[in-house]
């Protein structure tokens, strides 16, 4: 079992002008294989820092992360990442972007061709395999990013606001796609988002983080991701239960924001 285990993670760094920032404090979390966790919080709550530490791009000052019993010390192919945008390679066409991981492992085209084609069909880009990246729309580019990540067979997929730059309609379609891929592949996914609705829809588990220092404020277990796999997402959003949780979390984040503003005015 490749469970992701985060133990007492803290992160503190010095500022150039003196003083220091406590970006994360005592974050402890265990994610079972195949779980879908969404992370929500006001800006400055350390959610991107948390994701970067899990990806191995940053080293925590305290605490450890293990994946399947192995300690995380740097980036590696078992933890794939999907970025907000601009992380595709413009000098390669769609197919070469998606096959990047297998190619870097030294696989021959015959070994990865079928799977890459299949993945591109799954994300709906079957007709765009030879297109240049800059010829695609933003939503299509994010589909390529998803396929590229999946083609590399990571144990955990880390998503840093992958749908943040998309328009509302495209975003809704992509949310459905993420759920579908999650269910089909059974991957562990951590999704960072600004959107409360997205966090509720996609998060099997939902983490609300609080700022200064960045910490876990509250955790939810939600049914919407499960139902969203089979039902229309817009129907899910209309349910009373969904509305109630949304209001609760929105209120929570509002309070945090107000507190930050108040603190800044007081300072």
């Amino acid at each position: 079992m490749s469970d992701l285990d985060i133990q007492k993670l803290s992160m503190r760094f010095d500022l150039p002008g003196g003083g220091s920032v406590q970006a994360l404090k005592d974050v402890t979390l265990t994610l079972k294989e195949g779980e879908l966790l969404s992370v929500l919080g006001p800006s400055g709550c350390g959610k991107t820092t948390l994701l970067n530490i899990v990806a191995g791009f940053l080293a925590p000052t305290e605490g450890t992360i293990t994946l399947g019993g192995k300690k995380v010390t740097g980036p590696s192919a078992e933890r794939g990442m999907v970025f907000q945008q601009g992380a595709l390679f413009e000098w390669m066409d769609v197919r070469d972007n998606v096959s990047f991981g297998p190619r870097m492992r030294g696989q021959k085209p015959s070994q990865y061709r079928d799977e890459v084609n299949h993945l591109l069909d799954v994300v709906g880009l079957g007709d765009f395999k030879e297109k240049a990246i800059y010829e695609l729309s933003g939503g299509m580019q994010q589909r390529v990013a998803l396929a590229r990540c999946l083609a590399n067979h990571p144990d955990v997929i880390l998503m840093d606001e992958p749908l943040g730059a998309l328009d509302a309609l495209t975003r809704e379609k992509m949310q459905g796609l993420v759920l579908k891929l999650w269910k089909e592949t059974g991957k562990t996914i951590i999704l960072i988002t600004h959107s409360v609705e997205e966090a509720l829809l996609l998060g099997e588990r939902l983490l609300v983080m609080a700022p200064r220092p960045g910490r876990i404020h509250k955790e939810y277990r939600l049914p919407f991701a499960e139902t969203g796999v089979t039902q229309d997402l817009r129907q899910v959003k209309k349910t009373a239960e969904f509305g109630a949780v949304r209001e609760e979390i929105l209120g929570m984040i509002w309070d945090m924001e107000e507190e930050i503003m108040g603190r800044q005015e007081g300072a």
Binding site: P75, F83, G86, A87, L88, E90, F100
Partner: protein, 445 residues
């Protein structure tokens, strides 16, 4: 203090020149506006455009609505040649477009000489003005009556000639004879001249007559040759060569220096830039050197390079190497620093090694910057090679125009300048074409 005074004096001279040019600049601008007005009238009778920007109501201030007007470009280029032809009396242009040229042909004026006894006598001077490059004898003059005899004189156009009017007269200047009037208008020795219709005549301090035929508005070929003269020089030099080398050799040598110097600069500069972009030690090591050398114009290095390496090919290529080196290093450095961190992160989390990230992410990502740098470097190299050849060279485009200028062969100088411009422009076009083919993703990241 002295410096400031002398600089202020120079500034006055410069501003005076600018002011004297102002009417011409204003006239040119008015001409442009005039053609614009004419074009607006003509356009009403043409099929109107139906594209998107034709429907824009706001065009003033909308940069995207301003595209280069081809008609204006054609008129502008044509006007340059028409002006060139008009002011040089070009045969390619119908005569009525020529501005008044220098007087050539025959003319005459009379002078009134006063003898030592106070008596006066008139005599006629026949003047033959012949164009430059030909020869002519002075016209025969009948001696006429009285003590002052008629004279004949040949003058080359744009030159002036002194006439010792008394050579054939009965009284000479030594006797006390002098000219008191020209064409009936009184003159003084050393005073202002008299316009006699085709020339200006004045009496010099020594009492002789100085005849300056009218030069008109046209340029003397030694200042500005006609377009056809430049063209015929091009034809002549491309078949006969110039200074023991064919035209192809001159241009070929210049291009050879540029290409070799640029390639060497790129071969060293690009890895240097990568090293500076990827390692703090290399960045710290080379930053002071690069930042200092970059603002030093390559031309300032010419004397040192000549001292060290002589005026042969090695010296020139070292110079061009130095011209390209810093530009390419800085371009490669900014290409590396400009890589989006998310691309590198993505490659790492897809399992790429450092070397694979270099090969598949950093290098391709830096190519657009390197191409921009290469375009700049090629332009600088081309300018530098011409300047270096002006200083000292056996062959080359710059050497050609420098030597030609020493022999006052202005037609070759202008031909050389045009060729240098054409080659420089072609290099830039070639680089842009290569850029479109090789880095199509440029600016679309």
């Amino acid at each position: 203090m002295e410096l400031i005074t002398s600089l202020a004096g120079e500034l006055r001279t410069v501003l005076g020149t600018v002011l004297s040019a102002a009417p011409f600049i204003i006239g040119y601008v008015l001409l442009i506006l005039g053609t614009l007005a004419v074009w607006k009238v003509i356009r009403q009778f043409l099929q109107p455009r139906r594209d998107y920007s034709a429907l824009k109501t706001v065009t003033f201030g909308d940069e995207s609505a301003v595209t280069s007007n081809t008609v204006a470009s054609v008129i502008s280029i044509a006007l340059i040649f028409v002006l060139w032809g008009a002011f040089t009396g070009s045969k390619l242009l119908p005569g009525f477009l020529h501005v008044p040229g220098a007087f050539t042909g025959e003319g005459s004026f009379t002078y009134t000489a006063q003898g030592p006894d106070g008596s006066t006598d008139e005599a006629t001077v026949m003047v033959r003005v012949f164009p430059a490059g030909s020869e002519a004898d002075a016209p025969e003059a009948a001696l006429g009556e009285g003590f002052a005899k008629d004279d004949g004189l040949a003058v080359q156009a744009y030159r002036s000639e002194l006439l010792r009017f008394d050579d054939n007269d009965e009284f000479t200047r030594d006797d006390g004879a002098s000219v008191v009037a020209i064409d009936g208008r009184p003159v003084e020795a050393g005073g202002p001249g008299v316009d006699v219709g085709f020339a200006t005549v004045n009496v010099t301090g020594r009492g002789t007559l100085n005849i300056t035929p009218d030069t008109g508005w046209q340029m003397e070929p030694i200042w500005l040759p006609a377009p056809e003269a430049v063209w015929s020089q091009l034809v002549k030099i491309s078949s006969d060569g110039f200074r023991n080398s064919t035209l192809a050799e001159h241009l070929g040598y210049s291009l050879f220096r540029v290409i070799v110097g640029f390639l060497l600069g790129a071969i060293v500069g690009i890895p240097l830039g990568y090293a500076m972009g990827l390692s703090d030690w290399f960045r710290g090591w080379f930053d002071p050197i690069v930042e200092f050398m970059r603002p030093v114009p390559p031309l300032a290095l010419i004397p040192l390079v000549i001292l060290w390496a002589g005026i042969g090919e090695v010296g020139k290529i070292i110079l061009l190497f130095l011209a390209a080196l810093w530009i390419m290093a800085i371009a490669a450095r900014s290409g590396v620093s400009g890589v989006r961190i998310s691309k590198v992160h993505a490659a790492y989390s897809l399992g790429a090694s450092k070397w694979q990230i270099m090969r598949h992410v950093i290098i391709p990502n830096s190519l657009p910057d390197i191409f921009t740098g290469a375009r700049v470097a090629m332009g600088v190299c081309w300018g530098t090679v011409v300047a270096a050849e002006l200083v000292a060279a056996e062959k080359g485009a710059g050497m050609m125009i420098m030597v030609a200028s020493k022999f006052q062969s202005t037609d070759i100088v202008i031909m050389g300048i045009i060729l240098i411009g054409v080659v420089g422009f072609s290099i830039d076009m070639l680089m842009r074409w290569a850029e479109r083919i090789l880095v199509p993703w440029k600016g679309r990241g």
